[in-house]
Symmetry: C2
Subunit: 504 residues, 2 copies
């Protein structure tokens, strides 16, 4: 008889870039998502849950911040004929929304307000803290060009942050408008008066210099106004002594960019006035500033002052598909980084107006605006601020002293559960009593219930207060436990109120 091959066992490993979430990691996130959904619902948004899978064709090439098309998604070809559709896991919740709205637009109300929450997938190289599956939590209003929709989402975002436990003063929502940046570029490069704005934009897209200017704007935080001016014009020597070539603009070309970058005033009014100078004669720019003015006015009328939502021209980053107002929620408190240095927590949500995503499908103009909350970052922030309830929530453990009396232990347990007390009978091997208490310890149990033959005969149980007695929980014998002052004999009839007061 042939010798049996050695069994090759599969590896028990989370796939690279994915992770498992246990217990409180799951329920804390869920509690946060529930609170967010409550605010979204209060604002009139309806839930939408689309499948994780979309056709590659319908997802399109809108992967945020990435130039690559399908490289960033998990995709496969449908079986069957050679030309089966390519399918992919969704990489965000906006692309599926655009598909859903285009598909169901005759049945959906317009404007369509929807919220969605769930995992999205990115086929990227995993790194520390970077996962290939993560949660997003979005709200969008589709089918209205009114900036009241943008303003409303900013207000809702402020309410949402406060609802989950970020206090006023610990966050700021910064609002800008893509059109203002377009206006600034008009000021720099001039524009053809008779051309449509959209075509103008397309023309600039092809200009390398425009990209150079945008890249330079992004360096403002590091090199300041003087540095940006140098980089836009003649070039600049950096700290290491290396010389960085300039973009080659004239001084008067560079001035609107500097005016833009330094336009933030002490009030929105002042900021908007400064921006008007930066965009010069550009009608698109003026349009963008008027939209910001309206947003500011709408929010002010509802009491959302600049302590919560502020016009801030430095918000220039984000998705390529934004076409109007853009907004970003930043947490302003400091946390310690991995090296113990204090740093600002930074952005936890962002969004803006994207008027072209549905148009891809229908050819009709369908303006839309929406926000996406970075759920994991927000949860990390709440944890860092101690705003997550960390009360141990393990079950009461009914220990097994006598294997044959399992039915009695189950009855005690059932009594507790019927009173709404989380409880379970120890179901491992009951032989080693210490293991039962170690188990209770590992579960974060508030109490263990012990009933030997003697106690059963007298209709009582021993209740071990594990919160009180946690430190003794390692290797004590039954006898040691009985001597422990954190252990109380309780009549079976009094067990529920006793545990209730212990948990209170």
């Amino acid at each position: 008889m042939a010798k049996k091959d050695k069994i090759r066992r599969p590896r028990a490993e989370t796939p690279k870039g994915f992770r498992d979430y246990f217990g409180a990691e799951v329920t804390e996130r869920k509690a946060m998502l529930d609170k967010i959904a409550e605010v979204y619902h209060l604002y009139g948004f309806e839930a939408l849950e689309s499948a994780a899978v979309e056709t590659v064709e319908s997802l399109g090439k809108f992967l945020p911040d990435v130039d690559r098309p399908n490289a960033g998604v998990f995709a496969w070809q449908e079986a069957g004929e050679d030309d089966g559709d390519w399918m992919a896991l969704r990489y965000d919740l906006t692309a599926p929304l655009a598909r859903v709205y285009a598909q169901h637009r005759n049945d959906l109300p317009t404007p369509y307000r929807r919220y969605a929450m769930g995992p999205v997938w990115r086929n990227e190289k995993p790194g520390p803290g970077r996962f290939r599956q993560f949660y997003q939590c979005d709200a969008d209003t589709v089918g209205t060009a009114s900036v009241a929709a943008d303003a409303e989402i900013c207000a809702m975002l402020a309410d949402t942050l406060e609802a989950v436990g970020i206090e006023r003063g610990d966050y700021v929502i910064r609002v800008n408008n893509r059109k203002v940046l377009t206006g600034v570029l008009h000021s720099v490069f001039g524009f053809d008066e008779g051309t449509e704005d959209a075509q103008l934009g397309a023309a600039y897209d092809t200009a390398t210099k425009r990209d150079d200017v945008l890249r330079t704007i992004d360096k403002f935080d590091r090199v300041g106004a003087t540095g940006v001016k140098q980089l836009l014009t003649v070039g600049r020597k950096d700290e290491s002594g290396a010389f960085i070539d300039g973009v080659g603009l004239t001084d008067s070309q560079a001035d609107p960019v500097i005016a833009f970058l330094t336009s933030k005033g002490s009030t929105s009014k002042e900021t908007l006035a400064n921006l008007l100078i930066a965009v010069g004669e550009s009608p698109v720019g003026a349009d963008g500033i008027e939209e910001l003015r309206q947003i500011s006015q709408l929010l002010g009328a509802q009491g959302y002052g600049p302590d919560r939502i502020v016009i801030d021209p430095s918000v220039v980053r984000g998705l390529g598909y934004y076409t109007g107002p853009v907004y970003e929620a930043e947490l302003t408190f400091e946390i310690k980084d991995e090296k113990g240095r204090p740093r600002q927590f930074g952005s936890v949500a962002g969004g803006g107006r994207y008027d072209d995503l549905v148009t891809r499908f229908t050819g009709q103009a369908v303006p839309a605006t929406g926000v996406s909350i970075g759920v994991d970052r927000l949860l990390a922030a709440l944890t860092a601020k101690g705003r997550i309830d960390r009360t141990p929530q393990g079950p009461v453990i009914v220990t097994v002293m006598d294997r044959d009396r399992m039915a009695d232990y189950q009855s005690i347990c059932a009594t507790l559960r019927q009173a709404g007390i989380r409880a379970e009978v120890y179901l491992g091997n009951p032989k080693n009593f210490g293991n039962q208490l170690k188990y209770a310890d590992k579960r974060g149990s508030p109490a263990a219930i012990i009933q030997g033959t003697d106690e059963a005969a007298r209709g009582v149980v021993q209740v071990k207060d594990l919160i009180l007695g946690a430190k003794l929980a390692q290797d004590a014998t039954v006898e040691e436990w009985k001597e422990n002052p954190s252990q109380t004999e309780v009549k079976l009839a009094d067990l529920v109120p006793f545990i209730q007061s212990l948990l209170a």
Copy 2:
């Protein structure tokens, strides 16, 4: 200049076999899952959320009810080197649990009680009502061989069904044991006394006759005991007159099968006594019956009588990987099928003991038992029974009479929201007032708020009770609305209490 190519637009289509869930479809399911999670939590189970993606190797070939291996999953090969891992979407929540437990077993408590809920994916031909993504909601206890764990899951399943709104009497949980069926097959075919049970099982696996017997058992519902006896022995003429060949057993071989199929007595005690006859001398069979007896006793002690949980030998179907007790929750009320004929609703949950899934990874024996609730079927059942709250939950709509006074409308809306009243300002084109009311109608709004210049000057609004006035909502003019008795003038300061009483 070359003529522009006609733009090819992507199709806006849900991929075949997938679907979108809107509004109440999402929130009703969520509410049900929340209630289920609450019961699972009360029973001491901890949440686990693994990623949607697993390696194909780790998923294994355990797709329920299907002989095909990877044909039934959505799979793709990781990019990079030629031999990138094959990845797949999980097809259930049990295979990932086995992987998670094998991977983290040193950190997890033993027994490990976990619940999980979320979508799973099956790459099957889609059909009416059959989707390729659907929800499961599981609870499992890993690492204990005690049948107390099986009994507990049956009790929890009963509590869960009642918690979501299935009344006592409308469901029954039927319990059987795979070992009893093995015992019956021992009785039919005999067995080698000295051989280990597991090897015995493997030996039977290869026997075609064994499969024939199992297939015939499955026909009991249709052909009854006499029919099964004929099919197991000499064959049978069916209703159409066609002759079905028999399996070729002798009468005395067939008798244990018939005894098994007709073993259900009026009490569990009686059923168990009948089963003892059916399994004859088989030690595995006797073992299975003893387990059923213990389960019955444990459940009885906690008050779960046969009106809720019953020993029922007819539960023979299910996954190939079950090794001990199996259980199934069936709803016993009738619904109308698509042709209007009454039929029983049937199974909504099932599970059992599977002792080999973790062993695949570790080589060590890790007994486990668990249940999976068919979320969509259970939701359909609740809907059929009218147990889902269908109160319209649309937002109060603040209409826009005067586009320039958007800030005022937003303020009214903010006041309502601050009082916890779901509300929104109409953000579509406000020109046609009828469209605003149609929108409110489509959203299921309880009320619309109207404020023209006149009302604004007097500090009042008109509140249109849309529940009352729904039928007039189609094409009325502003004037007609004002005459309508379901419309009330309310002082701005009284708006919140007025709406609250309207919603109450």
